[in-house]
Amino acid sequence: MPSLFLGILLLGLRVTESQASGLAPPQQVRLDADTEAQKLLVTWEDGRASTFDVEILRTELMEIVFNETVVATEDQSTGKHQWNWTSPVPLECTSLSVKVRSRDGQDVSEWSSQQILPGLDLPDNTDSQMYPEGKTVPVGSNMTFCCIVKEGQQFGSLLYKDTLVKETMLSRRTYATTMTNQGPSNPSGTNVVCSDEKKMIITGAVVFVGYPPMPSDLVCETHDLISVDCQWSKGRETYLFGMARQTYYTLNGRNCSKARDSNMRCGLEQWDGNWTLVARNLLGEFRLTDAAELGHRVRPVAPVNLTTPEVYSWNASVGWLWKYNGYERLSLICQVQRTSHSNSSTQTYTGYGLNTVVLKDLQPDEKYNVKVRCGSQKNFWKWGEWSLPLSFQTKMDRPVAPDIWLWMDSDNLGRVLWKPLTKSESHGQISGYEVTLWSPEENSQQTLTLPQSMYSLPINVTDRWSKVTVTARNPAGVSLPANVVIPRHLPDAEDTTISKVTFNGSGFPLSWVAHANASCGYVVDWYNTSCTHDCNVEWTRVAADNTNTMVQSSNFFAGVRYTFSLYACSSESTVLLERWHGYMQELVPSRTVPRLSPNQEGSDVQLTWDQIPLEHQRGFILGYTVYLTNASHLTLLANITDPQLTNHTVKNLVLGSYKFTVKAYNAAGEDGGATVSISLDPYTYWLIMEILVALGTMTCLLIIITIACYRKRKWVKKAFYPDIPEPKLPGEWGITQGTLDVKPSPHSMVHIVEDSVWDSSKEALVTVPEEDEEGTGDEEADTDEPASLRYYNQVVEEGSSSRGRPHASDSSASSTGSMDSGHTDVTYTGIQTSACSLAPMAHFQPQPDASQCAGGGGYRPQMQSASCPEDPQTGPEEHLQPPVGSFGGYQPQCSWKQDSPEADGGGLDQACLGSPTSVTSSQFLLPYDTSEEGKEHQSSASTWFHNLLTGKP
């Protein structure tokens, strides 16, 4: 009950409020839809207010689309209010409900009855659809597309082109998506596809996004002096194609149906003076205008039917026709372009109704193509189109004189050379050449006819001919003669300076000092410097007032040295002025230095080589580099900057093997390098030399010593070999037995071991001459203390120092035996001992050596000992038996080896030399008998020499 009461109260208040405002709700609200423009026209009546509240809802989902207060004036004629609304969503997409109420300030009327604009998603419209379809919009537009799915079908997705886009549900069957800032479409438009949940296409729409037309550069002109032909540029691409959306043009209101694609032109039959071009498509139109007088826009058509009425060797006339008669009164300027095989030139002609021109400066026997175009000479506007080309060929004419030159192959032989005539010089096919040799002195001439393929003739300058003339012949005639003087005196090339010239990229720039005798100018010729036979010679002529030229040729090659020669030319002779050498491009030498060889000079190695042949230098050789090669590593040893120097010495090398590489270099670089190996030998010769010098020095020294000794031989003999006094034997020596006094050393004891063999034939003591003592090489002489020994002749006196020792005399015998060491063994014992020690020593040497009696010749006092015949212990037979392997004398003091084979007294290496020597002195105990002539010389020399070598005095 309370709620019912409250409701009634509120209703009553509202009615009261409405009645209180006095505003009547709008009546007869009507909706009119412009689906193409997506506009909704709302009209109503009976609204006294000027402002209204309008509310628009999507009927099915009751979503408010629009709710605003609008101003709507009353149409006085109909008394209705109307208001336009543009829907962002196509009106077909879903039903819209519209209601209106009047507003006057804060007072509002009741809402009108709701009017519904039915959409196409109503149940009775079962098909699937999409809106808007086929719409054309400018680039950058925003659009909303809606898809109405088929009744009972399930919506899947929306795709713009092939991109999935987000959709919004507008009704039970309607889904929409909004695309912003759309880009240009492809020619068939942009597709928006609606598919179901099975990815099957339900429906779709196409939108064409493009630009309105924007042509430019409208220009109108006349060709026939009557009609008008207008052209313009298409301008920006519209991206709209097809019959419905393409751009259409009109010129002064007339359709230009042929204006399509790139052919933007349109014509009118009459000259209007003002033209307006309108370009139009679904997105808009664009206007262009142009205005001009006819005389200012004349562009003649192309001449037709070109002909050549007259053709000569050097000129020809060309004629043509005009398509329109009006040109006869038109002042024309025409260009005639003529093209030959290599040249193209354009000449200009003028005249009223010009239709013939004469072409001058043509080349004989040349094929030409000509074409013509014209313009209006007065108020020139544009050149007309070129005519079709016309071809013709000029007639032949006699050739020009060939360019000839005399080239000297040697002092006497030369060649007359002439250049082949070019196409522009021959004026027709050359059939041959005539060479005439002249001798004015003898008033004679000789003419030779040469084929067209010959360009030289060898001559001998020592012949009588003094001038050569060459002419060329073609079917049209003979050329003027070309002359060259055969020089009487050849220019001396040796005296001519040669300098270098550098290629500057286009040629060799040569300059020189003017020469007085160059009346007909200068000639520069050049050839391959390394060429020796039938060289290709080229030349060029320089005017007399020119002192420089640029030598250019297509025959220059890199790495080739060329010789350029400058000649002063006169009517009498040619004079060689200057020469240059040059390379178009220097390359590294193509080969290594030849004949590279090493030569050892002690610890130095000299490398020598030859210069690279000219054809292999391929550049100006600047020098050589010498490397020491270690495996693949090169160590620079020297850089020889003088190209003429072809040797280098590497100093102070130690013994070993070396590899040297020598490279020649020019401006382009080094060659590959020639390598040579050398193994340094020991300094054999040097050592030999040293040895020889040493030997020589020693020899000299020995000679000097020998000479000195010889000169001082007496002193030497006296000093080293004094005479031993001859024993003085009083009375008869033969039977008298005397005593040979010998003064033994008081401190020495000599044991003489005598051989028991006794030579019975030597019963008497043999007198040894004093001279023999000198010849005994086995003896030493003690000059400081002359010997004072006494020898006993077999009978030893009693009471002597040897008394009591029956064999004490054996020592004397032993001494005698020492004269023949081959028969006596001498054993020294107890040297420097006291005499008391002699007794036991004597016990071991009881037997006198009887063999010493039969020993070698010489003085053997011991052999004369009485004990020999009287020795009771030994028979004569024993004395007759020579000892085998024993020594006849006694051993020298130095020998302690009784049985030693080295004890042979003949050996020089024995210090004692086999001679018994006093133990107290070095004096020989038994000098040889000097009477032995046969031994004297031998003994004295050998003894002296031995003494010298052993250092004994």
């Binding site: 086929g134 492809n186 020619p187 597709n191 099957m200 339900i202 429906t203 097809g242 019959m243």
Partner: protein, 203 residues
């Protein structure tokens, strides 16, 4: 009759069938290419399919049918395809969207020409070949004409469906003609079976 015909000219008929099968296979390849080109031209997503009733209406090609009847139905379907293709080409030329679509335009012409050859070859295989057969009238399909009422998208979809029909029926023709061939394979396929199988796999 069929047996008689087979006995009379079995060799030549087999050869004709083989040639028609090879032609159908090649045409199917061309139709597939045309469909790809159109899909790219219209930026149709590859996963999207076209629905609706078939534009080509013939009774189903049942295995119970005699070879001659199968050929008749196949011939009828191909003829409808040709009519649809001709109309599609005409509609597109009328719209004249232009643009640089040379490859697509050439492919359309290629398919049209080869479809004509296949029709001629198939016709020779019919019982009353050599052009003396009394053909059934073309079925009146409501969709045989452009149904879009000026809707650009409807026209595109219609053409898309025609190309799909072409792809389908040329494949059917290839299979049917191979099945009708005694060896079950065309000479070309026998020669290059491995390569052809690989090509289909790539598709």
């Amino acid at each position: 009759m069929a047996g008689t015909r087979t006995r009379r000219g079995a060799g030549s008929e087999q050869s004709r069938t083989a040639r028609a099968a090879a032609l159908a296979e090649e045409l199917h390849h061309e139709c597939t290419l045309l469909l790809d080109l159109y899909r790219k031209k219209e930026t149709f997503a590859e996963e999207l399919t076209v629905g609706g009733e078939s534009l080509v209406t013939v009774p189903p090609l049942s295995s119970q049918l005699s070879p001659n009847d199968m050929l008749w139905r196949l011939y009828s379907a191909l003829q409808q395809c040709r009519n649809l293709l001709e109309r599609a080409i005409g509609r597109e030329e009328a719209v004249g969207n232009g643009g640089d679509r040379a490859q697509y335009e050439n492919q359309k012409k290629t398919v049209r020409d080869r479809l004509g050859h296949l029709l001629a070859s198939t016709r020779l295989l019919l019982e009353d070949g050599a052009g003396t057969a009394a053909f059934t009238p073309e079925p009146k399909n409501s969709e045989i004409d452009y149904p879009g009422n000026g809707s650009p998208f409807a026209l595109k979809l219609w053409i898309y469906r025609i190309f799909n029909e072409l792809e389908h029926w040329t494949l059917t023709a290839s299979k049917t003609l191979k099945a009708l061939h005694p060896d079950g394979a065309t000479p070309k396929e026998r020669r290059t079976r491995g390569r052809a199988r690989g090509r289909r796999t790539r598709r």
